[in-house]
């Protein structure tokens, strides 16, 4: 990684975007004239939160605008510019460039690979439409070559597989192989590792890095994950509501950020060491005033610089979850919990104990059984064997069989705030449902309790009559948490509740949960795949792999001295900066 790139860019650029503007069909401008340059063999990371326009910018480089967007203005030229402005090219010329000179790696390979085409054929199709290789057998050789490059087996049988026969990481490597197949000069990567666990992510990042280096491909890496940026990018451009607010070498942007927004973004990233205080940053809403929107380093006008310094001052004084008070009682005891669907063992002899007022993180990748386990605890899945005790009494398996008091004691917050709230009900109605269920008939009393719960999650009275459609993702998740809190539960089960949210919103939700936990002595089961959150939310940590708890202990014990190979591997692959 070189730190000085500004001087060389004019002569050797692979792609140059200038004053790129994109409007919606309705005429609202969502990209306000951004400019950047990509160089062969180097990767520029375009960082921003959802809605910042980073994907729109990446696709505009390929002359592609999604449904609802009008064609952009500005210039995007490739290499020496002999192909002209990509934004002005007619479809047939654009088509010749796409996949051949500039290629794309999509965010979700499960959606972007054609489910009814064999993977070898999908790669070969790219070669065929760009007339690379004279015959089909030539092309098959090339397919085998690129599959080997991304570290997949490349025999005939593998090429004949369908996407659903591969794991998520393998699918993404097929996507990368497809993008590199025609030896493009520019490659646009749209969050290619979102949804992969850290070990797979590390392999995929390394593959991208190696291939870009070997074939001297210029990369535009779109992401919201600053830790990934530290690993892969040579340069970083930070986007905020359609503008690039800071642009520079990776080290400078990550370690000496100039713009306030970058600083706040960095401060919100949870770190494994727990040195940053993610919980006390305010939610970043994207309404920051901008004085001089420009490509390189907008001067900081927002003034909020104190957070990072505060974090440094407070270093070591306990940003982490507060230790549990002495002599707590066991709240829940899970013993020998198993569940299988046919031959497939989802949970295999799970046992753990949760103390009153304690927060435990259940860590695992997708398919490890962590969501199934939390659903069993909440009684949403009643097909398990084994026992779950609450306050020393064994719970019935399903919610229907449990008493309403038991149901009240365990509350559940779902992953997606976009689907867990009824869009036709006002927030007050949704939050009030659990009260009706537990038999609080008096309307005025219900309203008072709802208001109290909304106050606790910092939404307040003005949200009561609004509907989920009017709320942002973070506000919705707060409303969902209020619904869980309204009945004063003893245990809150949080199922990946921050994974659909931006880091800054995630930070405020973590903050909220920690406050609630300490103020109300509430226990929490925090289910996640993001190991970096561990020190920010939980006193204890259980690592789940293939339905078994492979590591369990206090957060410090597990992170500092992991026992199981799987945990060690995860820890070794966590992307970090600082």
């Amino acid at each position: 990684m070189s730190t000085n790139t500004m001087e060389t860019q004019v002569t050797t650029s692979a792609l140059c975007a200038t004053d790129l503007r994109v409007e919606t069909d309705a005429g609202v401008e969502i990209l306000h004239g951004i400019s950047f340059t990509l160089q062969p063999g180097r990767i520029l990371a375009l960082v921003g939160e959802s809605g910042s326009g980073k994907t729109t910018a990446g696709l505009a480089c390929m002359g592609h605008f999604r449904q609802g967007l009008a064609k952009g203005t500005g210039t995007v030229s490739l290499g020496g510019g002999e192909a002209g402005n990509i934004l002005d090219l007619p479809d047939h010329q654009l088509r010749r460039l796409r996949g051949k000179t500039i290629s794309y790696v999509p965010q979700d390979p499960a959606l972007s690979l054609n489910p009814s085409m064999r993977i070898g054929e999908q790669i070969a199709e790219t070669l065929r439409v760009h007339q690379i290789g004279a015959t089909d057998s030539d092309r098959r050789l090339r397919v085998a070559e690129v599959l080997a490059e991304v570290g997949l087996s490349n025999d005939r049988a593998y090429q004949r597989r369908y996407p659903h026969q591969l794991s998520g990481g393998q699918q993404q490597r097929v996507g990368i192989a497809m993008a590199f197949a025609c030896r493009p000069s520019v490659i646009v990567l749209d969050e290619p590792t979102t949804g992969l666990d850290v070990t797979t992510q590390a392999v995929v990042l390394q593959t991208i890095d190696e291939l870009a280096e070997r074939h001297q491909v210029a990369g535009l890496y779109i992401t919201h994950d600053l830790a990934v940026v530290a690993q892969i990018a040579d340069e970083v451009a930070v986007m905020l509501s359609g503008d690039i607010v800071e642009h520079g070498a990776t080290d400078q942007v990550l370690y000496a950020p100039r713009h306030g927004y970058t600083r706040r973004l960095l401060a919100a990233v949870p770190d494994l060491a727990g040195k940053r205080r993610v919980g006390q940053v305010e939610a970043i809403t994207g309404e920051q005033p901008l004085v001089v929107p420009g490509p390189h380093g907008v001067p900081d006008t927002t003034g909020a610089t104190s957070l990072v310094d505060d974090a440094k001052l407070l270093f070591g004084t306990g940003p982490r979850a507060t230790p549990v008070a002495a002599a707590p009682h066991p709240l829940m005891r899970v013993r020998d919990l198993s569940l299988s669907y046919g031959e497939h063992q989802v949970l295999d002899g799970i046992g753990f104990q949760l103390l009153e007022g304690e927060s435990m993180m259940l860590l695992g990748e997708s398919g490890s059984g962590k969501t199934t386990l939390s659903r069993c605890v909440a009684g949403l899945n009643d097909a398990y064997t084994g026992s779950i005790e609450l306050f020393g009494e064994e719970l019935a398996t399903g919610t229907r069989a449990r008493s309403s008091e038991d149901r009240r004691r365990i509350q559940y917050v779902f992953q997606s705030p976009f689907s867990s709230l009824n869009p036709r009900r006002t927030i007050a109605e949704s939050v009030g449902v659990p009260l009706q269920m537990s038999g609080i008939g008096d309307k005025r009393k219900r309203r008072a309790l709802v208001l109290e719960a909304l106050d606790q999650v910092k939404l307040g009275e003005r949200f009561m009559e609004r509907r989920p459609g009017d709320l942002s993702g973070g506000e919705r998740q707060r409303a969902a948490i209020a619904r869980a809190l309204v009945n004063a539960p003893s245990l809150l089960v949080c199922d990946e509740i921050t994974s659909a949210l931006d880091v800054s919103v995630q930070a405020s939700i973590l903050d909220l949960l920690r406050t609630l936990q300490t103020d109300h002595n509430m226990s929490m089961l925090f289910v996640t795949h993001n190991i970096a959150l561990a020190r920010h939310i939980s006193q204890r940590l259980a690592v789940l792999q293939k339905g078994k708890i492979v590591d369990i202990g206090t957060t410090d014990e597990v992170l500092d001295n992991p026992q199981h190979r799987y945990t060690q591997e995860l820890l070794a692959n966590v992307p970090t900066f600082k």
Binding site: H64, G99, M117, Q165
Partner: protein, 319 residues
């Protein structure tokens, strides 16, 4: 795995067919009137009635009669028509053929037209072609088949133009396809009834597929638009549409009744209407079970199309 799925579907189809046969048999038992009386007329003597009942096995217990009838279905012996006295199979053979011709022609027109119009509608989303096809298909879908038929008759053979015959008048015993002009209106009517549903379903699924990640990916890797549509989008839209086509084809087997009656077309629909009027129980039973079987077979075929176009069902899951 796939053979097991197909075997399961087949088994379910057979069970449904069996249940339908029981229902049809019971329903015809409940029809008012005595078949022997219907055949011999009001003047028949009690002796002759008794003799005929004996000959038709009407005195046997109900379940014996059911199993005799069911056995007959398998051996191709559908009994004797009360109206003509001849075997039901001989009576229906021509009728079935005529109906199949009508339905086949209608399917041959409506399936490709429906798929193509639906696909173009989706590709031209929000433009004039799309608006026109969506509007027209909605109007057609909301009109009952006899209204469409009468409208076409008024337009092409009576009030406006007088270019096509409004009724089928093939001499008895001669095949309908020897008079192609007479087939035009019934075929078009049937096709117009069925096509709108295919158009609308094809449009809806194509819109969804065109918005999917793999279609965007195909465009972003430089695949020509024609190939994007034909190779990546249409195959994915076909599986759900196959189900709708199957339901439409199955509907045709029953829906021809009205259209055949309207155009005096000598098919199974006409035969069914006549048989009910004449208390011709054997013919009613035979036709009902035939129409039910058509429903089941066509739906089974649609399921098979669904299975074969979905590689997830064809192949094993990743280890």
């Amino acid at each position: 795995m796939i053979t097991r799925m197909i075997a399961k579907r087949l088994l379910v189809s057979l069970i449904i067919l069996f249940i339908v046969s029981v229902l049809v048999f019971v329903a015809t038992l409940l029809l008012p009137g005595d078949p022997a009386q219907a055949i011999l007329g009001q003047q028949a003597t009690p002796e002759r009635l008794a003799a005929l009942r004996e000959q038709m096995n009407l005195n046997d217990p109900v379940f014996v009669r059911y199993f005799t009838w069911l056995g007959g279905l398998f051996t191709g012996n559908l009994g004797y028509s009360a109206a003509t006295g001849g075997p039901v199979t001989a009576l229906l053979a021509d009728r079935i053929q005529s109906s199949l011709v009508l339905m086949g022609l209608a399917a041959l027109i409506s399936i490709p037209v429906g798929i193509i119009v639906g696909t173009f509608s989706a590709l031209k989303r929000g433009r004039a072609f799309d608006n026109a096809s969506t509007g027209i298909s909605l109007v057609l879908a909301s009109l009952p088949e006899f209204v469409i038929g009468i409208g076409l008759v008024a337009l092409f053979s009576t009030s406006v133009f007088k270019i096509l015959p409004s009724v089928t008048m093939a001499p008895p015993g001669e095949a309908v396809w020897n008079y192609p002009v007479q087939l035009v209106l019934p075929t078009i009517t049937l096709a117009l009834v069925v096509t709108p549903y295919i158009v609308r379903m094809m449009r809806a699924t194509m819109l969804e597929v065109l918005d999917s990640g793999f279609v965007e990916m195909a465009r972003l890797k430089g695949v020509p638009e024609r190939q994007v549509v034909l190779r990546h989008a249409v195959p994915h839209a076909l599986a759900p549409v196959a189900q709708v086509i199957a339901i439409q084809l199955a509907w045709m087997a029953g829906g021809v009744v009205v259209i055949e009656f309207l155009f005096r077309y000598p098919g199974i629909g006409q035969a069914l209407v006549d048989a009910v009027a004449n208390r011709d129980v054997q013919v009613v039973q035979a036709l009902s079970i035939l129409i039910a079987a058509a429903y089941i077979v066509v739906n089974l075929l649609a399921d098979l199309v669904g299975i074969f176009t979905n590689p997830k069902l064809r192949t094993e899951k990743a280890a």
